[in-house]
C-alpha cells in the first residue's frame, strides 16, 4: 500500500522546487490560483485604465467597497457548505439598514438625546437583533418546518425588500449619527498612519506566534513537522504582505479640502506653499471586515459548531446519526448570517450617510459569487472563510475596474452574471481533476 505512506518523507523530495515549496508550506494551491487570478485582473485593469487601477486611492476605495460583501460572504460559506443557499441577504441588509436608520433618527433621540454618545452602539445592537431575528425565522422555517432554503430565502428576498419600503413608506432616512458614520470609512473613518502601522505590527507578531505555537503543538504530539525553512518562508511572505497592504493604505492622503479644514480647526501653522500629508491608513470598515473574517475563521475551524457545519455538509445523514442536532445547527447558521447582514448594513448605511429602501439590492448575487469564486462548493462540505473574502475582492475588483473603464451599468451586471457561471464551471473542472 504505497499510498498510505506518511506525507512527509520520500515523497516530499519529488517534483520541482516550486512543487516542493507548496508541499512543505502546505499552502493550498487552489487559493494560490485564485490570488493569481486576482492579480491578473488587477494588472489588466491597470493597463486598460491608463495606470489608474493600482493606485493607493483606488485600492483604498476598493477595500472599503469590498468590506460589506466580504462580511456577508463569510456567513454564506457556512450556508452553502451545509447545502443551503440564502438569496435574501441583500434584502435583509436593506431592511436592517432602514431599521437602524429609523432608530437613530427617530427613536433613540428620545432616550439618548440627539445623536448622543451611545446612539451609534444602540443602533448597531438594534440592527444586529433585527438581523438575528430575521435569520432565526428563516432558519426555523428551513430546519424545523422542512421548507427548502432556496424557497424560504427567495420568499425572504421579496418579504424583506418590501418590509424595508414599509418601514418609512419608501422615504430615505438621513442623516446618520456622526459616530455611527465612522463605520463607513472616509477620511475620518480611517485610523491614520500610526495606528495602521501598529495593526501591522500586531498582525506580524500574530503570524509569527501562530506558526511558532502551531509547530510546538505538533512537536508535542510527535506529528510530522514542516521543514524550518518553510516556516520562515511563510512568516516572511505573510509579514511582507501585511506591511505592503498597510503601506498602500498609508500612501493615500486626505483630500486637500479636508486637510485645509483640519489645519484651520487645529490652528496648525504651515510654511508658505507647504502641503500637509495626512494619510488615511486602514479604513474602519476594512478593520471590521478583517475582524469578522478572523472570528468566522475561528468559528469555522476551531469550534464544535464549525466542525458540525462541515460534517453536515459532507454527509447530513452521518451527522444526524453521530448525534449532532442538525436542525439547531442549521438554525444557528442562519442567525449568524442575519447578524453578518446587520454588520454589512451598518457599514453601508454609514457610508451612504442614509438608509434607502433599495440598499443592498442584488448583493445576494455578489455574496454568493464571492463564496463560490472563493472555493465554496455548491455540493456542500467544502469552503473557506478566507477564500470567500478573497472572492469578494475579486468581484469588487471587477465592478470597480469596469467603473474605471466607463462600462455601462447594465453591462456590468452582464459581466458579473457571466463570471459567476464561469467560476462554478471552472470549480467543477478543478474538482473533477483533483478528485
Amino acid at each position: 500500500m504505497s499510498t498510505s505512506k506518511p506525507e512527509q518523507g520520500a515523497r516530499s523530495d519529488e517534483g520541482g522546487p516550486l512543487a516542493r515549496l507548496f508541499r512543505a508550506t502546505e499552502i493550498d494551491t487552489r487559493m494560490l490560483g485564485m490570488i493569481g487570478a486576482l492579480l491578473l485582473i488587477w494588472i489588466v485593469f491597470h493597463l486598460m485604465s491608463g495606470d489608474r487601477f493600482l493606485t493607493p486611492r483606488n485600492l483604498w476605495n476598493l477595500s472599503v467597497q469590498t468590506s460589506g460583501v466580504a462580511i456577508m460572504s463569510t456567513g454564506m460559506v457556512l450556508i452553502i457548505v451545509t447545502r443551503n443557499i440564502d438569496l435574501s441577504v441583500g434584502s435583509i441588509l436593506g431592511f436592517v439598514a432602514m431599521m437602524m436608520g429609523v432608530a437613530q433618527t427617530q427613536y433613540l433621540a428620545g432616550f439618548l438625546g440627539d445623536y448622543g454618545q451611545y446612539t451609534w452602539a444602540a443602533a448597531l445592537v438594534i440592527g444586529m437583533i433585527v438581523g438575528a431575528s430575521v435569520g432565526a425565522l428563516h432558519g426555523f422555517v428551513i430546519a424545523y418546518m422542512g421548507v427548502p432554503a432556496f424557497i424560504v430565502t427567495l420568499g425572504g428576498l421579496l418579504v424583506w425588500r418590501g418590509a424595508a419600503w414599509w418601514v418609512t413608506s419608501g422615504q430615505t432616512v438621513a442623516p446618520m449619527d456622526p459616530t455611527f458614520r465612522l463605520m463607513g470609512g472616509g477620511p475620518y473613518g480611517a485610523i491614520g498612519a500610526f495606528w495602521s502601522w501598529m495593526v501591522a505590527l500586531v498582525a506580524c507578531l500574530a503570524i509569527v506566534a501562530g506558526l511558532y505555537f502551531g509547530r510546538r503543538n505538533r512537536k508535542r504530539f510527535d506529528f510530522p513537522l514542516r521543514p524550518l525553512w518553510a516556516e520562515f518562508t511563510l512568516a516572511g511572505v505573510g509579514c511582507s504582505l501585511v506591511l505592503l497592504a498597510v503601506g498602500v493604505a498609508n500612501a493615500y492622503p486626505w483630500p486637500r479640502g479636508i486637510v485645509r479644514r483640519h489645519v484651520a480647526e487645529n490652528g496648525i501653522v504651515l510654511a508658505e506653499g507647504e502641503q500637509l500629508f495626512i494619510a488615511h491608513g486602514i479604513a474602519i470598515p476594512v478593520l471590521i471586515a478583517i475582524g469578522v473574517g478572523i472570528v468566522m475563521t475561528f468559528i469555522a475551524t476551531r469550534t464544535r459548531f464549525g466542525r458540525y457545519v462541515f460534517a453536515m455538509g459532507g454527509n447530513p445523514e452521518a451527522a444526524e446519526l453521530a448525534g449532532i442536532n442538525t436542525r439547531w445547527v442549521t438554525m444557528k447558521i442562519f442567525i449568524l448570517m442575519g447578524i453578518l447582514c446587520a454588520i454589512a448594513a451598518a457599514i453601508s448605511t454609514a457610508r451612504l450617510n442614509a438608509s434607502t429602501n433599495a440598499q443592498g439590492t442584488l448583493d445576494e448575487l455578489l455574496v454568493i459569487a464571492a463564496a463560490v469564486i472563493g472555493g465554496t462548493s455548491l455540493g456542500g462540505g467544502i469552503g473557506t472563510i478566507a477564500g470567500a473574502m478573497i472572492g469578494a475582492v475579486v468581484m469588487q475588483s471587477l465592478q470597480s475596474g469596469m467603473v474605471l473603464l466607463g462600462v455601462d451599468a447594465p453591462f456590468q451586471n452582464v459581466v458579473v452574471g457571466v463570471v459567476l457561471v464561469i467560476a462554478v464551471w471552472l470549480d467543477g473542472l478543478y474538482r473533477k481533476r483533483s478528485a
Binding site: R304, F310, A322
Partner: protein
C-alpha cells in the same frame, strides 16, 4: 479514553452461551419487546422481540428487506419506533434519537458507515463528541493523537490522518467506522454488515476484533449475510422474515441448513425458540 472496555468478564473469558447454564445466564443488557414500526402502511418491523445478554454475540439474519436493519436502527435511535418497549440493563429506555442511544452506551457501525467524507479521520472518530481544550475550542491535536492510537491497533499500517476519509480505501473507511464505535467505551455494539466492503484478510481482522470485543465483555448485535461468519462468531442466531421474528436459537442447537430454512421458508426448527413470524 481507551479501546479496552472496562467490564472484563470473569477470568479467562469463556464462551458465554456454551459454558454458562441457561438459568445462571448473565444479565440481559437489551430487551426489545413487541417493537413495531411502519412506513406508509408497510410493517417494516412487526411486533419483534429480541434480547441480548451481557457479553453475547447475537447474529441477526434474514433476507434483504426482512426488517433487520430497521430493527437495529430503532435500537440505535436512527428511527423512532411506533410501539413496543426497549429495556437497557433492566431499565425502560427512551431512545428517540442517536444521542439517546449513545447515552446508554449503544454504539452502531452502520452498513453505509455514516462517515462525513469531507473531514479527516480524527474528526470522524470524534464527530458529535469532540475533545475540547479548556478554552472550549476543538483540541485537534489530542483527537489526532488518540485517533493514531486507536487506528494503530485496528489497522497498524494506516497513516493517512490528514486526508478526508473519502480519499481512503473501502477497508480503511470501514476501520474508521469501527474505531469510532469502540472509541467511547461502548457496552453494546451494533454491527450492520461490518465486512461488506472488505477483502478476505480484512474480514478476518474484523472477525478477530469481534472475538476480542466479546472477551472484553461487550455485547454485540451482528447483522451478516455470511452464514459461515455467523456460525464462527455468534453465540445465538435470530432470524427475521417480512418484518417478523421467525425465532432464535443458540448456534450449537441448530444446523446451517436449519438456519437457511428459517431465513428462506420461515420454518422454525425444534432447537429454536419460536417467534410470531414462524410458519408451521
Amino acid at each position: 479514553m481507551t479501546v479496552q472496555p472496562t467490564v472484563p468478564i470473569g477470568g479467562d473469558a469463556p464462551d458465554v452461551a456454551s459454558v454458562v447454564a441457561p438459568d445462571v445466564r448473565p444479565a440481559k443488557v437489551i430487551e426489545m419487546e413487541d417493537v413495531s414500526i411502519s412506513f406508509g402502511g408497510i410493517h417494516a418491523v412487526d411486533h419483534a422481540s429480541l434480547d441480548l445478554y451481557h457479553g453475547e454475540v447475537v447474529a441477526l439474519l434474514g433476507h434483504n428487506g426482512a426488517g433487520k436493519s430497521t430493527l437495529i436502527k430503532i435500537l440505535s435511535g436512527a428511527y423512532r419506533r411506533d410501539g413496543g418497549t426497549i429495556r437497557v440493563r433492566g431499565q425502560e429506555a427512551r431512545i428517540d434519537n442517536p444521542r439517546d442511544a449513545k447515552a446508554y452506551g449503544i454504539e452502531t457501525i452502520y452498513q453505509s458507515l455514516a462517515l462525513a467524507d469531507n473531514v479527516d479521520t480524527a474528526a470522524n472518530l470524534y464527530l458529535g463528541r469532540e475533545l475540547r481544550t479548556w478554552f472550549g475550542t476543538l483540541d485537534d491535536a489530542a483527537m489526532e493523537s488518540h485517533a493514531r492510537e486507536v487506528m494503530g491497533r485496528l489497522n497498524p499500517r494506516f497513516q493517512r490522518f490528514k486526508e478526508p476519509v473519502k480519499a481512503l480505501s473501502g477497508g480503511q473507511r470501514q476501520s474508521v467506522a469501527i474505531a469510532r464505535a469502540i472509541l467511547f467505551d461502548a457496552k453494546i455494539l451494533i454491527m450492520d454488515e461490518p465486512t461488506a466492503a472488505l477483502g478476505p484478510q480484512e474480514t478476518a481482522g474484523v472477525a478477530e476484533l469481534i472475538k476480542q470485543l466479546k472477551r472484553d465483555g461487550i455485547s454485540i448485535f451482528l447483522i451478516s449475510h455470511d452464514i459461515e461468519d455467523v456460525f464462527e462468531l455468534a453465540d445465538r442466531v435470530a432470524v427475521m422474515k417480512n418484518g417478523q421474528m421467525v425465532g432464535d436459537a443458540p448456534v450449537h442447537a441448530v444446523t446451517r441448513d436449519e438456519v437457511l430454512g428459517m431465513i428462506i421458508l420461515g420454518k422454525c426448527p425444534p432447537g429454536a425458540t419460536r417467534g410470531p413470524g414462524a410458519i408451521d
